[in-house]
């Protein structure tokens, strides 16, 4: 097995979600529902009082449901339609995680977008001469937006910050590539 095919499999599996949490949650809910159904059936078999309703009562209630539960059934039905749609969409979507691949020679590297953001924030705040807490970076798949809040009465050289951020992004060598944008808040903050 070539290393290349191992690496491409890892990259695919690590940048997309396995949907394990959703699948396990659904499976547990179904198991609980089945356990309840089995419990009711066995209770009615051995002639014990039911937990909520015996299977026979449930059958009768289901047949007559439209007579006295119309409003509830419509509401629950619409909710179920929406829930079903959401689940089907979640199953079909690619399920990308907020991560980027970083080019490297020997190892295959995947970085959380959060790490890229905090590194850009540190470099931007250093260049803009402000506290790192006043630089906020949001990283999406192809874009990074750097927002800086200047100290009142001072100005921030946007071209310089922009150059530093772009240079950093080039050094990281991310896939897919990220374009950056630097925004400076109109209003400064005392002591920023």
């Amino acid at each position: 097995m070539s290393t290349q095919s191992v690496y491409s499999r890892i990259i695919h599996r690590e940048t997309t979600s396995p949907r394990a949490t959703l699948a396990i949650t659904l499976a547990i809910i179904i198991i609980l529902l089945i356990a309840y159904a089995v419990a009711e059936t066995i209770l009615s078999l051995i002639g014990q009082p039911s937990l909520l309703a015996s299977p026979a009562d449930m059958g009768i209630a289901l047949v007559n449901a439209p007579n006295y539960l119309a409003g509830v059934m419509i509401a629950v039905g619409i909710l179920a339609v929406l829930l079903g749609l959401i689940l089907m969409i979640a199953a079909v979507k690619p399920g990308r995680r907020p991560r980027h691949v970083l080019d490297a020679d020997r190892v295959v590297v995947v970085v959380d977008d959060e790490v890229i953001g905090s590194a850009l924030a540190r470099h931007a705040s250093y260049e803009g001469n402000i506290d790192p807490d006043n630089a906020r970076v949001s990283v999406s798949r192809r874009r990074a937006v750097v927002r800086l809040t200047p100290a009142s009465g001072t100005s921030i050289g946007v071209p310089a910050v922009d150059r530093v951020v772009t240079e950093q992004l080039e050094r990281y060598g991310l896939r897919p590539t990220i374009r950056s944008k630097v925004v400076v808040d109109e209003r400064g903050k005392v002591g920023a």
Binding site: R19, V38, M73, G77, V81, A121, P132
Partner: protein
């Protein structure tokens, strides 16, 4: 890195979604469309009667219908299948890094723990990392090292990649061959609450 069957997860979520969707649609349509309601009122009682009759005509010695027994058996099987499905998630770790039987004198086996501990002891001392953890997974039959590190706030991911690559190069030299290696750099809660990096 794990060998979770992702296609199966998707299929399972989709099928559950489809069932919920159809039941919801049926419940709403039954009360909104008069024609369907009439149809339900005409057939549902008969269906229930038939089910009750089927139960009555299939009673076993103990007075229990074998349909009931069968339904319970099918439900329990379904629960077992779902449990298998849950516990199949997230496997694929391996304890064997290298098995070399090309020599005339015998077999060389190297456990994953050798590489894991070697890398971890190098990385745990690094100031730019909050934590480092190394594990070994089987990817398409090839033992593959997974290095997960939590970066301190503000550290450049390029620097971390360079640090880890040099550690892996040292490991290559020690083992005499290159083990496929995956590095995951995460931020996460511990990075946010730990102190920020000093200027480098």
């Amino acid at each position: 890195m794990t060998n979770t069957n992702r296609g199966l997860n998707r299929l399972f979520i989709f099928v559950v979604g489809l069932i919920v969707f159809i039941l919801g649609l049926a419940a709403a349509a039954l009360n909104l469309i008069p024609a369907i309601l009439t149809g339900w009122e005409n057939t549902a009682p008969t269906v229930l009667e038939n089910i009750n009759e089927a139960h009555a005509s299939t009673r076993l010695a103990a007075g229990v219908s074998w349909i009931t027994v069968g339904v319970i058996a099918v439900l329990i099987m379904l629960v077992l299948l779902l449990l298998v499905f849950i516990f199949r998630q997230g496997h694929g770790r391996t304890g064997r890094l290298i098995r070399d039987d090309r020599t005339d004198h015998g077999v060389t086996v190297i456990d994953s723990a050798v590489a894991e501990e070697a890398l971890q002891s190098v990385l745990n001392g690094r100031p730019e990392l909050v934590s480092a953890h190394v594990s070994t997974f089987d990817v398409k039959g090839a033992p593959t090292l997974k290095v997960s590190v939590t970066a301190r706030r503000g550290v450049s991911p390029r620097e971390i990649a360079t640090t880890v690559e040099s550690a892996v190069h040292a490991l290559d030299a020690m083992l005499g061959r290159e083990i496929p290696t995956y590095l995951h750099i995460s931020g996460g809660f511990r990075a946010r609450t730990s102190s920020a990096t000093r200027l480098q």
